[in-house]
């Protein structure tokens, strides 16, 4: 078998190898990559930076893929030389490897503009996983970040840093953001959107120097002006990495020159991806690179025939809530072409189509990209639009706002990143038994790029696949069809403060009993209680702060912290029970007392007579802390569990959580108050506390995982608080800690809570304190009801007519 050596373990190289493997086995393959990670989806680095995806989630080919295909993978080895005559490559580890065929897939390098002191500590580029990791390590709330470059990459980096809490400024050399994809008007709409997100945009500024002692402190511009900066990202463009092509003696210009068969000037050396130049063009997006890879695979395996004839490019900005799409011509001054525009400044929508001889030659969409597929298809196919002139900007929606999947033609591209057509998807469904999105991704690579076609793929599956199964990672509800982590991001970035606002903008305007309470919780958590609470969006229990019973009466459970009460309290409880003829008084499973069967109209009076605070037994919130007697009385006690439990309850009470949250504190491992089957438990032992989380003794029984062992009670309370807030922020609504901890994995939970860097912990504590400061005992509404009829039974005005 011939030896094929591939240099560059990136998206284009590996996609090409995958295509080569589809032909009969022909090669012994060795792949060199100077990054230390298996092939991953570079496109999604923006999502990793923005915290929407984890690093593990963006892997494209795991180690097992390389093993399965007997590929020798050499990670962390940089090829420094090619000897085309001797047919060898030399690595920076000193190794010399012979080849019969060589494939260069070295991608491109970030362009570093000539700026004085650009290598200073605190200046980053954004190209690979290591860059992303370093950025994530450095970025933290409150830092001033400056992104140099207002193109796709720069804007996505800016958004990512902002989500990490930085104060971000984008500095762009040109007068228009994304000037290669947008015209002046489109650019200004985009700049407005970025400003709305809270990102400052400075245009027409040339950066001349990075200032600072040892590390970056300010950025200086031509003319002498400066702005402060703790962190700088350079995103000023890319240039093809052609060094090895030159060393191999290939014909190179800006990129390594290839012909339509993807051949270079040397019959044994091939090149693919961002490092090549075809027909004068160097591409910087994934779709063309994949097309190139297919052609190259045919040529290199002796099946020469298919040609690569260039790709119509489409770009999409991947910032949630900032929809930008551009393809084809963008300028105004192309001979003989006409331009159709639509603008709505207050909605921030701008659309521009460029037509020539009744054919679409360019499209710009800002603020609403829902029709991008249609335009892309017109561009690719050169459809004659003369008869459709009236519907160009506003398709005849025919009731269905989404695209009718049946109308898409078979050769229309569904996944722009990976260049997958509807025909390919339908074929995969019919011929290869694809039923789920995961299978579709595996089989066709559709929807594995930027993810914007996921919805369309789902619709196709639903329409065509006989046994379509929804993914387990579900959207919150059909009223607001987004996954909860997306929604949290939307609500945060768009600064939405009421349930109705979210429903109006991102949903069907109505909502239901599933999404309304979930959104209510989300808003309360994200804004630390500083939002417009809409009682109508909450379940009845949260409207009247009591638990509805099967007969429409309510139960009342006052807070009895740590299960410790007093004679006076018990006497008041007894009096209330008699006065209001409470049908049942019961000790609950949680060391508390329940008064069952209270009428709604009596609730405020009952609360007042009790003189106790709400035990939140009716809501998804902090229930109680059970305690054992501990050192004060128990002969086994090693820690004062009762005081610790009371303090824990005091610190967290009145807060809401994704699902109910039960806690317990015990003074020794005998565990009398069952702390190891609670959402949060503290288990005392000689000289220390174990903090355990994710336990359950309900529908499911699960032993809690050890979060951390600490010495002092204060440390144990602090660790509990940090975990508590982390759960509040990251769990889905109605996800108990035991499902949450299992889903995330206790290792990761530890890493992101008690073992997180101090600033991260501080941020969690900060948000917890903020929420706590705004929270209050719900039963105070007895004195100031939300509405006049919150607890009142309305009687008919006219009296009883007979």
């Amino acid at each position: 078998m011939e030896k094929l050596v591939v240099v560059g373990n990136g998206m284009a190289g590996i996609a090409c190898v995958e295509q080569i493997l589809r032909h009969a086995p022909k090669f012994n393959i060795t792949i060199f990559g100077d990054e230390t990670h298996v092939n991953y989806n570079r496109i999604l680095l923006s999502s990793v930076l923005a915290g929407e995806k984890s690093i593990e989630e963006i892997t494209l080919n795991g180690l097992n893929w390389y093993q399965q295909h007997d590929i020798a993978l050499r990670l962390g080895v940089r090829i420094t030389d090619v000897d085309a005559g001797a047919k060898t490559v030399t690595g920076d580890d000193g190794s010399v490897t012979g080849f019969d065929k060589l494939l260069l897939a070295t991608g491109s390098l970030p362009v570093i503009p000539s700026i004085q002191d650009v290598m200073k500590d605190g200046v980053f580029v954004f190209r690979n996983l290591d860059d992303t990791r370093s950025l994530l390590e450095r970025a933290r709330p409150g830092l001033k970040a400056v992104v140099i470059g207002g193109g796709l990459l720069g804007l996505e980096a800016a958004r990512g840093l902002q989500v990490q809490g930085c104060d971000v400024t984008v500095v762009h050399l040109m007068e228009t953001l994304m000037e290669r994809q947008l015209d002046v008007t489109g650019g200004s709409y985009l700049a407005n959107k970025m400003n709305e997100l809270g990102i400052t945009v400075l245009l027409g500024l040339s950066t001349t120097a990075i200032l600072g002692k040892g590390k970056v402190e300010r950025v200086q511009f031509k003319g002498g002006g400066t702005i402060p900066a703790d962190l700088v990202v350079i995103a000023a463009g890319i240039r093809p990495n052609i060094e090895l092509g030159q060393k191999a003696g290939l014909d190179t210009k800006r990129g390594i020159v290839v012909n339509d068969y993807m051949e270079t000037s040397n019959p044994d050396v091939f090149a693919v991806g961002e490092c090549v130049q075809h027909n004068g063009i160097c591409y910087g997006l994934v779709a063309p690179l994949l097309e190139q890879g297919k052609v190259l695979a045919a040529t290199i395996t002796g099946n020469k025939g298919p040609k690569y004839e260039g790709t119509v490019l489409a770009s999409k900005l991947k910032i949630m809530g900032v929809d930008v799409f551009s393809a084809g011509e963008i300028g105004d001054k192309v001979d003989g072409s006409e331009v159709i525009r639509y603008e709505d400044p207050s909605l921030g929508i701008y659309k521009k189509l460029t037509l020539k001889a009744s054919k679409l030659t360019g499209v710009i969409l800002v603020g609403d990209t829902s029709d991008s597929h249609r335009y892309m298809e017109w561009l690719r196919s050169g459809t004659d639009l003369a008869s459709m002139r009236r519907q160009l900007l506003f398709p005849d929606t025919g009731g269905d706002a989404g695209m009718d999947v049946a109308k898409i033609s078979d050769n229309e591209t569904v996944c722009g990143c990976m260049g997958v057509t509807k025909g390919v998807i339908v074929h995969a469904i019919h011929e290869r038994g694809v039923n789920t999105l995961a299978q579709l991704k595996e089989c066709t690579k559709a929807s594995t790029g930027c993810g914007s076609c996921t919805e369309l793929c789902q619709q196709l599956l639903k329409a065509v696949a006989p046994e379509f199964e929804e993914e387990s990672r579900k959207v919150l509800c059909k009223c607001v069809p987004f996954a909860e982590d997306n929604l949290r991001e939307i609500v945060r970035s768009q600064r939405l403060k009421s349930v109705q606002e979210v429903l109006d903008i991102y949903g069907n305007g109505q909502g239901c009993e599933v999404c309304k309470p979930a959104l209510s919780y989300m808003l309360d958590m994200l804004w630390c209680g500083d939002h417009d609470e809409d009682r109508s969006a909450r379940f009845i229990n949260d409207r009247v702060h009591a638990n509805i019973q099967k007969d429409g009466t309510f139960s009342v459970i006052p807070r009895i912290r740590g299960g410790v009460t007093s004679a006076a309290e018990l006497r008041r409880i007894a009096d209330v029970a008699e006065k209001y003829r409470v049908p049942l008084v019961k000790i609950t499973g949680s060391q508390r007392i329940d008064l069952l069967g209270v009428k709604k109209s009596d609730l405020p009076k009952v609360w007042a007579d009790l003189g106790m605070t709400s035990g939140q037994a009716y809501t998804k919130g902090v229930r109680m802390v059970k305690t054992c007697v501990g050192t004060d009385f128990c002969r086994f006690g090693t820690q004062d569990s009762t005081s610790a439990g009371i303090e824990l309850e005091r610190r967290l009470e009145n807060l809401f959580t994704p699902h109910k949250l039960k806690m317990a504190v015990v003074g020794c491992p005998r565990n009398c108050a069952e702390a190891t089957v609670k959402d949060i438990g503290l288990v005392g032992q000689e000289g220390s506390w174990q903090v355990v989380v994710g336990g359950a003794a309900g529908k499911k029984v699960r032993k809690a995982d050890l979060l951390i062992t600490v010495e002092t009670t204060e440390q144990a309370l602090d660790a509990s608080g940090i975990f508590f807030q982390y759960y509040r922020e990251n769990a889905n609504y109605l996800e108990r800690t035991y499902d949450f901890v299992e889903r995330i994995g206790i290792e990761k939970v530890r890493k992101e809570t008690v073992y997180a860097a101090e600033p991260q912990k501080q941020a969690l504590r900060g948000r917890l304190h903020k929420s706590k400061a705004r929270s209050r005992d719900a039963w105070l509404e007895r004195n100031e009801p939300r509405t006049a009829t919150q607890f009142v039974q309305i009687e008919m005005m006219d009296g009883v007519l007979v």
């Binding site: 309304k516 009682r535 969006a537 009845i540 007969d551 008919m796 005005m797």
Partner: protein, 137 residues
């Protein structure tokens, strides 16, 4: 005679908060009135499943979801929406608002019949209210 109705004044419109419901006691029964943004819709305050108080439910568009076991009813005509077996429904009543007062149209015999509320099926059979009969078409 049987189809005769009577309009009565029930309560001030501001007593029913936006997108919430409130029960009003009338004779032996309770009627749930909902505020759908200037439009008030009324149904019997008793879920046919296990008598849940519909007035306490979450409103979703023009439907309400029973707080006890989440059965769902169309407030415009009382029809059950889910679970899908559409045999169940609640009785609906017409309303109007005058000078910030909500008026309710009730059958004339509402206060005299011992079994004050007719089942909604009977109501439909009679075609007593427009809304319900429209729904049947």
């Amino acid at each position: 005679m049987k189809n005769e109705t009577k309009w009565i004044r029930v309560t001030y419109a501001h007593n029913i908060p936006l997108r919430e419901g409130r029960a009003v006691r009338i004779a032996e029964s309770e009627i749930a009135i909902f505020n759908l943004g200037g439009r008030f819709l009324a149904v019997e305050n008793r879920c046919p499943h296990r008598e849940g108080p519909l007035a306490e439910g979450i409103v979703s568009g023009t439907t309400v979801v029973c707080p006890l076991h989440a059965w769902k009813f169309n407030l415009e005509n009382g029809q059950g929406v889910s679970p899908a077996s559409s045999a169940h429904c609640v009785r609906s009543f017409r309303t109007r608002v005058e000078d910030n007062v909500i008026w309710l149209e009730l059958p004339a015999n509402f206060f005299t019949e011992s079994q004050a509320l007719l089942g909604c099926m009977e109501q439909q059979a009679e075609g007593a209210t427009e809304a319900c009969s429209v729904a049947r078409v």
